[in-house]
Structures are given as C-alpha cells and as structure tokens.
Amino acid sequence: MNCEQYMIRQISLFSENKPGRLAALAKACQEENVNILAFSIAEADGFGVIRVLVDKPDVAFSRLTALGFNVAFTHVIAVLMRDEPGGLFEIASKLSDAGINIDYSYAFSGKNKAILILRVDKVEEAIKLLLSHSFTLIATDSIQ
C-alpha cells in the first residue's frame, strides 16, 4: 500500500516568542495566495514552533525561507474524526493499543466534520492501522 499519499507536509517554523512573528508568517502566505488550512503554536522557553498546514506548501516554504525564517517540512497525518463524544477516544485508543506514540496533535471541527492532525513516531504503521479500522485519512493531493 502506498502510505505516502497520506503523509501531509506540515510547515514547521522556528520563531522567537515575540510580537509580530505570526503576523509576518500570515502576511507572507497572503501575498503568495497561500491558504492556511490549520495551524498551531507550540511554545517553550522564549521560543516556539509554529506548525502550519497550507494548500501550497512548496510556495510557502520558499517564500518563508527567502524572508529569513527557519523552516522545515514535517510529515503529519490528518484523520477525519466523528464530531461527537468518543470521537477522539476511538482514534487515540487504537494508536495507544498499537504502541504508537503521539508526539503532538491539533484538531479543528468545521461545519460538518472534525479533523485530527497527528504527528506520530511511526507514521506508516499509524496510517495502515487507521485505514484498517476504516477511518478516513485525508490524502495529500486532496488539499495540497
């Protein structure tokens, strides 16, 4: 099975924790007509990593790099989640039963669906496992 179609390229951006950094990132995306599908900010001691899912990752990557940002691609997976009590549990418990660790995760719930974005230690195993339990994974080409 080709797992790669489900490996979504997330843009991870190193940022100092100071005013204006998210605005600078957002401005660059706007100017390149890049749409941000989801993002989260992880914060440590005075710095952080901004994680962004966008529709045109290569465009965003080269523009942000040109602006001097420290940027890297990270593979994440996106799972369609039931937007009701127990929806997160059934995904998290499947991964946990298989001994797959979630490094970090963020989620959003829209009008008629919720999506869970996962960064796990064993990406291919996680993809196979979730597909085998009939979860719907978002394919890269459907958004990027």
Binding site: E16, F47, G68, N70
Partner: protein, 429 residues
C-alpha cells in the same frame, strides 16, 4: 591601627630608595624567566640599565596573554622545589593562569593582608568568617593566612550552605565577614527570612566583583556592618593588593610592595595623578613569579589628596575593565570562552550577545544565540535539547549557571571591527 607603622607611613624619599632597591632585585629575579630574558634581548635592554624608577619605562608591558603562553610553569623564577603553593585563575580558552608562591611569598602576602585587616580595625578580639572559595581561588587561602597572622579567630567557611553560614555567624559571635557583595546581600535576606539576628557583625569586607556606593549603603544597612572594598588579583598574589581604610575614600595600595603606574589603555602613555586609566603594576617583593609592568586591565586613577590616616597615595575605586573580561558572581568570564563553547555546537550559529544584569542582588548572565538554519528539523523537543546542551556546555566551561535564549537566524547584530557583544547592565544600580 597599624600592622607595620614604619613601612605603612614611610616618607616619599625613603620609599623611593626602597622601591628602586626592590626593583633591581626584581629585575635580577626576572632574568631567570625565559620570557623576560627574551624580552630584554629583543629590546636591547641590559638588566643593569634598570636602576631607577624612571628606567622602568624602557621595559615593555607584560599582559595576561603572555602568562597564558607560559602555561603552566613558564613564568616561575625559582625551581619547583622552592614553590610551596600554586593557585590558578580562570583563563580565556580553558587553560587557567598559574601562579606560584615561595615560602617568602606566602609570608609577604599574609603580611599585606594582616596590614589591611589591622587598618580596618580588626584585632585578636575579632571572629572572622571567610565566605569565599577556599580552593584554587586566591581569595580563600589568601585571607585565611593573613587573618591568622594578625591573630584573628578565623573561620574558613568557604561558599555555599547559607543557612549554616548564618548559624555560624550567630552562634560563634562572628564580628567580621569576607564575601562577594552580591553574596553579602543574599546573606542579609536569608537571615531576615530565617529570623536570625546577625547583630554581632561589625565589619564586612567585599571584593572579587565591582560594587557601587548604593550597594555599600545597602550592605551596611542590611548587615549592620561597616563595608570595606578589597582589591587584588592572582597575578599580584591575590587579594590584599589595595584596600579601603576607614576613611572610605579610595583604596590604599602598598607602595613598598607594588610599583604603580596608570596608563592610557590604548596609547600606553603614562597618565598622572587624577587621570583615570589602566592600572599597571610591577610587584616588588614577589619571588616565585616576578612580573614587570603587568597590565591589570582594571580602570582606576591615583588620587591626588593625601589621606588623613597617614598612609601613602590611594587608588580611586575601580570602575571597570579595559578589556572585555566580565566578573560574574566573582568568577572571571571572557566572551571568547562563550564563543569557543558555541563554535563546538553545530546546532547553533556563532553569533551571540551577552547581557549581564543584577537581579535580586545576584549577577545574572543571559546569552542569546541563533539557531543554525541547517540543523532545524521542525521539532520543538530538538530545540529544547539544543538549549539545554548550550546551558550545560557553558556551565562546564564557565562554572556558571546562565540563561540561554535561542533566537532566529540572522536576527542578532553583526559587527564590523571590534564586536560589542557584551552588554553589562549592572551599572544601573
């Protein structure tokens, strides 16, 4: 009070004769040191050319970097059998500067400390708690030997365990303490928290880092002591080189043992009394490690006014360094040490900034360093590891806890010519 009244109040004409005699003896000792043999040969100086104080200017300066190149024993003028003690001081690139002492040196040095302690009014009625590092640092054993020599009841307390320090002051009726000014303030606050009475204290000696008049007021008020400034450096024996007398207007330097010059640190030109510049010292009684025109890097001036106490010309309180050495909580730090640490860590760039602040009376050093563009893989945990690695490497090399901020590549200032990477904000107090 005098320890040695005759020498402490010696008349200028007599002093000059003594200094010139001791200068000639020092030249003789220096001629046993390869570095000085080579210097005299290179400069075409014959040792017998140096007879008077005016001849001194024929001799080039000696710098700390020269001492470093002599590591470990290159500057010893006596065989190691005659060296009874070795101390070291932190260096710029990991190698410390080594200083050696003969039996005579230990006698001379303790004698100078005994002069200082007697000058500020300590006697065998006093109990003295010495709260600095008692190891390779000269401040510990230097004061210990001098204090014992003066007959003072001496407690080699060393550093750390503030609670125990406070208990000793209280239980033993300690009357005098020696520590860094920042530790003095820390001690006062800890005693207040413990509700311990330190009223037996009457004298505090503070050294190893510069401190302001505001800090003096605070130390005096909070500890109930009369605060005295102490100056010295390992290359000139250690502490005891210059000391405040009860007038508290400048520091007496012992002119029979140290020949003093003040120079413009850039041109090397000699400056007169009342002109601020770098202190250059030729020690006159050092046996194991004699030095000629040693550049201390410390900024002061010779004071014009005579002191009512009857001792010789004083140095003004020190106001900084002519090089980029920092003294953080009593520990010497050179920015180049920080640079070496960062160069060895590929995950960070080699641009950096150092900020020094005084927070709750303690020196705090913050280092900003750029994350290296090529070593970023997008994970927060990796960055945290890099930050901890930098903190640990700095602690191993500097023996200091620091705060490290990771910043984005390309955001720190770039310098042309001499970099100004150090911002010392302690003067603000």
């Amino acid at each position: 009070m005098f320890w040695d009244e005759a020498i402490e109040t010696i008349k200028p004409a007599e002093l000059r004769i003594l200094q010139e005699k001791r200068l000639r003896e020092t030249i003789t000792r220096c001629m046993k040191v390869g570095f000085y043999q080579e210097m005299f040969r290179r400069e075409g100086i014959n040792p017998s050319d140096i007879r008077t104080l005016d001849d001194l200017k024929k001799i080039p300066f000696t710098r700390k970097s020269d001492l470093r190149e002599g590591y470990p024993f290159g500057f010893m003028a006596v065989p190691l059998q005659e060296v009874v003690r070795i101390h070291t001081t932190s260096g710029t690139t990991g190698k410390p500067t080594v200083v050696g002492y003969t039996k005579g040196d230990i006698e001379n040095w303790s004698g100078l400390i005994a002069r200082n302690l007697t000058m500020i009014g300590l006697t065998n009625q006093d109990v003295f708690q010495n709260m600095v590092n008692m190891g390779m640092f000269t401040g510990g054993l230097g004061f210990h030997y001098g204090s014992e020599k003066a007959g003072i009841t001496t407690l080699p307390a060393g550093t750390g365990n503030t609670k125990r320090q406070i208990e000793m002051i209280h239980d033993f009726g300690v009357t005098a303490i020696h520590c860094t000014p920042s530790y003095g303030l820390h001690l006062a606050e800890a005693a207040t928290e413990m509700k311990m009475d330190l009223s037996s204290l009457r004298i505090g000696i503070f050294g190893a880092e510069p401190w302001s008049e505001k800090t003096r007021n605070e130390l005096q008020k909070k500890l109930g002591v009369e605060a005295f400034d102490s100056y010295g450096m390992s290359e000139l024996y250690g502490p005891g080189v210059a000391f405040e007398c009860p007038e508290h207007k400048g520091l007496h330097i012992w002119h029979d043992s140290y020949l003093v010059e003040i120079i413009d640190p850039v041109s090397g030109k000699t400056l007169g009394p009342g002109e601020r510049g770098e202190l250059v010292v030729t020690p006159l009684v050092k046996e194991a490690m004699p030095l000629l025109r040693y550049r201390t890097g410390d900024i002061t001036m010779i004071m014009e006014d005579a002191c009512p106490c009857g001792r010789g010309p004083k140095l003004a309180r020190f106001t900084g360094r002519s090089d980029d050495m920092l003294v953080i909580r009593g520990i010497n730090v050179f920015p180049s040490q920080i640079e070496h640490v960062l160069l060895a860590i590929p995950e960070v760039g080699n641009h950096y900034m150092v900020y020094v602040d005084r927070i709750n009376h303690m020196d705090e050093m913050t280092i900003e360093v750029e994350v290296s563009r090529d070593n970023f893989h997008g994970e927060l945990a990796d960055l945290k590891k890099v930050q901890n690695k930098v903190i640990k490497s700095l602690r191993d090399v500097l023996e200091l806890r620091t705060t490290v901020h990771l910043v984005e590549p390309g955001t720190l200032p770039r310098f042309e010519g001499k970099a100004k990477r150090v911002v010392d904000r302690r003067g603000a107090d």
